[in-house]
C-alpha cells in the first residue's frame, strides 16, 4: 500500500495534478464571478426569447474569453504587477485616474445589481430583503476583513461548485438534446434588431472590465511563479470554459421551458418564477438558489476588486490585512461599495434600471481602452521580456479585441439610442 502511495507521489502525472491544485483559483473564480446577477438575467432572456438560436455564440465567446484572460494571467506572472499598476507606470496618472473613476462607478452599479440579485432570489424563498440584504452585506464585509487571501479563495472556489444548480435545472427542464446540440454547433444569423441586441448583450456581459483587473491582481497576490505558469494557464482556460458551460445550461433551461411556452421575461427572478409551473418547484428553487449564490459571490468580489484596483493605480496602500489607519482609502472604497450597493436596494422606488443603463455605457466605454492598453503592454518587451505575444497569437488577439470593441460600441449605441431594448 505504502509503495503504491509512493508510486503515485513520484509519478509525473501526480506531480502535475498537485502543482495544478496549488495554483488553481484565480482563473476559475474570475470566470465564474462573471456569471453574476446581470449575466444570469441576460442568459435567461436569451433563452426565453430566442430559444436555442443564440447557443452557438457561446463558442466564439469562450474563445475570446480565453484569449483575453490568458494575456492577463501572463502579464501577472511575467511582471508580478497588477493591471492598474502597469497602466499607471506606462501610461501615466491621468489615464489611470479617469479609468479608475469610471471603473468605480461601473462596478458600484454592478454591486447594486448583485445586492438586488440577493434580494429578489431570496424573496422567492419568502425572505424579506430587509433581512437578506443587510445580513449579506455584513457577511461580505466580514469575509474579507477577517479573511486572508488563501481562506477567501477557498470559500470562493467552494461557491463555484454551486453553479451546478444551473446544470441540474437545465436537465430538469428536459430539453430536446439533439436540437440543442445542433443549434450549438450551427451558427444561425437572424438579423432582427432584438436578436442583434441580445447577441451583443451576451458578449458584453461575458467580457467585463473588472475581470481583467481582478484576475491579474489575484494572480499577483497569490504569488504564482513563472515555473508554475503552465499550470496556471490550465486554471485560466478551465475557468473560461466552465463559465460559458454554466451559461449554456441557463439558456437551455429557459429555452426548453419559457421559449416553448411563449413566456417573455424581464429579469432573472422572472425566469425563476416562470420555471415553477413549467418545470416544477425544484427547478425554480434551484434557479433562485443559483441566482443567490452568484449574486453574493459577485457582491463579495466586486467591492474588493474595485478597492484593490483603484488603490493600486493611484498608489495608495491596500490590503485586507492592513489596519484602517494604514490604508484608509482602501477601506473607505471598500465600505462605500458595500454600503451604497446594499443600501440602494433597500430604498423604495430606487431606479436601479437607470443605474444599470449607465453602467452598461460605462462598461462599453471602458473596455476598449483596457483591451488596447493590455495588448500594447503585452507586446512591450521591456515589460514582458520573453513573454510577449507570439506573432500568430498577436493577430488573433488583435482581431478578437477588434471584434469585442466593435460589439461593445454597438451595444453602447443600442443602450443610448434604444434604451428600452438593450437591457
Amino acid at each position: 500500500m505504502d509503495q503504491l502511495f509512493a508510486k503515485i507521489r513520484n509519478s509525473k502525472a501526480a506531480r502535475h495534478v498537485f502543482l495544478f491544485l496549488a495554483v488553481m483559483g484565480p482563473g476559475i473564480i474570475t470566470a465564474n464571478v462573471d456569471n453574476d446577477a446581470g449575466g444570469i438575467a441576460t442568459y435567461s432572456m436569451a433563452g426565453a426569447h430566442f430559444g436555442y438560436t443564440l447557443l452557438w455564440s457561446l463558442i466564439p465567446i469562450t474563445i475570446a474569453l480565453i484569449i483575453v484572460q490568458e494575456m492577463c494571467a501572463r502579464m501577472a506572472v511575467a511582471t508580478g504587477k497588477g493591471l492598474a499598476d502597469l497602466i499607471r507606470e506606462n501610461y501615466g496618472v491621468k489615464v489611470t485616474f479617469y479609468m479608475m473613476l469610471t471603473l468605480f462607478f461601473v462596478n458600484l452599479s454592478n454591486a447594486m445589481a448583485e445586492f438586488a440579485g440577493i434580494a429578489v432570489s431570496l424573496e422567492i424563498f419568502h425572505i424579506s430583503k430587509f433581512i437578506s440584504v443587510p445580513i449579506s452585506a455584513f457577511f461580505v464585509w466580514m469575509l474579507v476583513v477577517k479573511g486572508t487571501y488563501k481562506s477567501v479563495e477557498k470559500i470562493f472556489l467552494f461557491a463555484c461548485l454551486f453553479y451546478v444548480a444551473y446544470v441540474i435545472s437545465g436537465f430538469i427542464a428536459k430539453p430536446d438534446w439533439s436540437d440543442v446540440l445542433k443549434q450549438t454547433v450551427t451558427p444561425s444569423f437572424n438579423w432582427t434588431l432584438d436578436y442583434t441586441v441580445m447577441l451583443v448583450g451576451l458578449v458584453g456581459t461575458t467580457i467585463a472590465p473588472w475581470m481583467q483587473f481582478y484576475l491579474q491582481s489575484s494572480i499577483v497576490e497569490k504569488g504564482v511563479t513563472i515555473e508554475e505558469y503552465r499550470h496556471l494557464r490550465i486554471d485560466v482556460v478551465a475557468g473560461c470554459i466552465i463559465a460559458p458551460i454554466i451559461a449554456f445550461f441557463i439558456v437551455v433551461a429557459c429555452a426548453a421551458t419559457m421559449f416553448h411556452a411563449g413566456i417573455t421575461i424581464e429579469s432573472a427572478q422572472d425566469a425563476a418564477l416562470a420555471l415553477k409551473p413549467l418545470a416544477g418547484n425544484y427547478a425554480s428553487w434551484l434557479f433562485a438558489f443559483g441566482l443567490f449564490n452568484a449574486s453574493i459571490f459577485a457582491a463579495s468580489v466586486l467591492p474588493l476588486s474595485t478597492a484593490y484596483s483603484i488603490c493600486e493605480g493611484l498608489g495608495w496602500d491596500a490590503g485586507v490585512d492592513k489596519r484602517f489607519e494604514e490604508a484608509p482609502q482602501f477601506f473607505w472604497l471598500y465600505a462605500a461599495m458595500i454600503i451604497i450597493g446594499a443600501g440602494v436596494v433597500l430604498l423604495p422606488n430606487f431606479p436601479l434600471f437607470k443605474v444599470m443603463y449607465f453602467s452598461q455605457v460605462g462598461n462599453g466605454v471602458l473596455l476598449p481602452f483596457i483591451l488596447i492598453y493590455m495588448l500594447r503592454l503585452i507586446n512591450n518587451k521591456d515589460i514582458m521580456g520573453e513573454f510577449v505575444n507570439s506573432k500568430g497569437l498577436n493577430i488573433i488577439a488583435w482581431v478578437t479585441v477588434f471584434i469585442i470593441i466593435t460589439l461593445t460600441l454597438i451595444m453602447v449605441g443600442f443602450t443610448v439610442f434604444l434604451p428600452g431594448k438593450a437591457l
Partner: protein, 428 residues
C-alpha cells in the same frame, strides 16, 4: 527660475530658440548616472510635431532662461532632431515618475506622483519624490479647483499645506519587471549597504515576493545571512520557497543551525530533502539530526554550533578560540570542555577566564557546578535553568553525557514569545 520646481510643471513647457522660433515641448529629463546623492540632470528631451513626431536633446548649457517659456541661446541650425524617441539610461519619466519606490524611513512602498527638482548654479538636481495627494492632484491639473473647494469648506485642512516629499537619498527604486529579476542598474544600490540589516528586513516585509527576491539577490552573502536572520518566520518560508533550491540550500548553510532547523520544520518534507541535497553533507547531517527532535524540546531548540575545547586546553587557547571565531553565528561567550568521547567535562565563559593566567589549564577556570539539560527536556525546564543560573546558554547532553548541542537564551525567548503571542491572541 525658482529654487524648487516640480517635474509636472516642467513637462509640456514650450521651448523656443534664440530667434523665438518654436523648438518643441519638454517631454522628459535624462539624469546622470553617477554616485552622487542627488542625481544631476543631463539634458531635457523635447518633442515636436503631432503626426510626425521629432525628438531632440537639449543640454543644460544651451538653456538661457527657464520661465513660463524655456528660452535657448542657440538657433535651429545647431539642433539635431531625430525621428525615434530618445530613451536615456536613467530618466525621470521612465524610471521615477509613476513608479514604485521604497521609502527607507517609513519602510514602505509608495508610488511617485511627482518629482521635486532643485535648481542650483544652473544645474538641476533630483531632490525629492512627491508621494502625496497634492502631487497626485497637481498631475491631474486639478490643483486650482480642488484647492478652491477645500478652502471653501475647510480652510485649515492639512491637505492645503502638507506636501509629502521624500528625500531622494531615502528612497530606493524598485525593479521594473520580474523578467529582469534584479534591481535596476542602480546608482543607489550602494546605499543599501549602509542600512542596518534589521531595517532592511523590515523594508523587505512590505515588498511583494518578487521585489523581495530581486532585492535579496542584490545582497552580498554576508548581508543575506544577516537580513535573513532578522526576518519573520513566514517571510523566511516564503523567500526559501521562491529562491531556487541551490540558492536556498546555500543560504540555509550560512545561517545558524537552529534557525535552519526551525525553518525546515515548517517546510514540506519533500522540499526539505531537496534543499539538503544542495548542502554540504556535514551541515545536512547536523540538520537532519536536529529535525528529529520535537520543536519544543531541548533537542529541537539547540544548535550544534558551539565552541568547545579538549580537556587539556589552556586559557590562552580559549582566548584564541574566541578570537578566531569573531564572525561565528552561534554563542561566542561560552566554551565547553569535552573529553575525547565528546562527553561534557566543564563549562566556562569569557567572563570567567578572561582575567586568568593564559598559561594555566582551562579546566581551572570552569564554573563550579555542571548545569545542563537532556535532549528531551521541555522548553520550560530550559527556561527555568537559564533564568536560575543567569546563563546566556546551556549545554544539551544525551543519556551518556555526550555533548549534543547548546541552547542560547534568545532561542528560548523566541519560542516563548511565539507561545505567549498565541495565548494572547486566543484570549482576544
Amino acid at each position: 527660475m525658482k529654487l524648487f520646481t516640480y517635474l509636472s510643471e516642467l513637462l509640456g513647457r514650450k521651448v523656443y530658440f534664440e530667434n523665438k522660433q518654436y523648438a518643441g515641448k519638454v517631454c522628459d529629463i535624462s539624469m546622470r548616472l553617477n554616485e552622487a546623492v542627488f542625481p544631476m540632470a543631463e539634458y531635457f528631451i523635447i518633442q515636436k510635431g503631432v503626426f510626425k513626431k521629432q525628438y531632440a536633446k537639449i543640454y543644460l548649457n544651451v538653456i538661457k532662461r527657464v520661465g513660463y517659456r524655456i528660452k535657448l541661446n542657440i538657433d535651429r541650425s545647431k539642433m539635431e532632431y531625430s525621428k525615434d524617441s530618445i530613451r536615456p539610461e536613467f530618466s525621470l519619466c521612465f524610471d521615477i515618475l509613476d513608479q514604485q519606490v521604497v521609502d527607507m524611513n517609513d519602510q514602505k512602498v509608495v508610488r511617485v506622483n511627482d518629482v521635486h527638482l532643485m535648481m542650483v548654479d544652473r544645474q538641476l538636481y533630483l531632490a525629492h519624490v512627491d508621494v502625496g495627494l497634492r502631487g497626485l492632484i497637481r498631475r491631474l491639473e486639478w490643483t486650482g479647483f480642488v484647492d478652491f473647494i477645500v478652502k471653501l469648506f475647510a480652510p485649515e485642512a492639512k491637505y492645503l499645506k502638507q506636501e509629502e516629499l521624500i528625500s531622494w537619498k531615502n528612497t530606493h527604486v524598485l525593479t521594473l519587471g520580474r523578467t529582469k529579476n534584479v534591481i535596476r542598474s542602480d546608482i543607489v544600490r550602494n546605499r543599501l549597504a549602509k542600512i542596518p540589516a534589521a531595517e532592511l528586513a523590515d523594508i523587505m516585509e512590505d515588498l511583494d515576493v518578487f521585489d523581495k527576491l530581486s532585492l535579496f539577490k542584490t545582497f552580498s552573502v554576508d548581508l543575506q545571512r544577516k537580513v535573513f536572520a532578522d526576518m519573520a518566520i513566514q517571510e523566511k518560508e516564503e523567500l526559501v520557497d521562491h529562491l531556487g533550491d541551490r540558492e536556498a540550500g546555500d543560504l540555509l548553510e550560512n545561517i545558524p543551525a537552529d534557525e535552519a532547523t526551525d525553518l525546515l520544520h515548517n517546510l514540506p518534507k519533500e522540499k526539505t530533502k531537496q534543499l539538503m541535497r544542495f548542502m554540504h553533507s556535514k551541515t545536512s547531517k547536523k540538520l537532519r539530526m536536529l529535525l528529529g527532535y520535537a520543536q519544543d524540546t531541548a533537542g529541537g531548540l539547540m544548535t550544534t554550533e558551539y565552541l568547545y575545547l579538549g580537556a587539556d586546553a589552556l586559557v590562552k587557547d580559549a582566548i584564541q578560540k574566541i578570537k578566531d571565531n569573531v564572525d561565528y553565528p552561534g554563542n561566542l561567550f561560552h566554551i565547553y570542555i569535552v573529553d575525547e568521547k565528546h562527553a561534557l567535562k566543564g563549562i566556562t565563559s569569557l567572563r570567567h577566564f578572561i582575567n586568568k593566567d593564559p598559561s594555566r589549564p582551562l579546566m581551572e577556570a570552569c564554573y563550579p557546578s555542571d548545569v545542563f539539560v537532556r535532549l528531551d527536556d521541555g522548553m520550560e525546564e530550559v527556561a527555568l535553568l537559564l533564568e536560575k543560573y543567569k546563563f546566556s546558554s546551556i549545554p544539551v547532553l544525551d543519556e551518556d553525557g555526550i555533548l549534543q548541542g547548546a541552547i542560547t537564551s534568545d532561542d528560548v525567548m523566541e519560542e516563548l514569545i511565539t507561545l505567549t503571542w498565541k495565548k494572547y491572541k486566543d484570549q482576544i
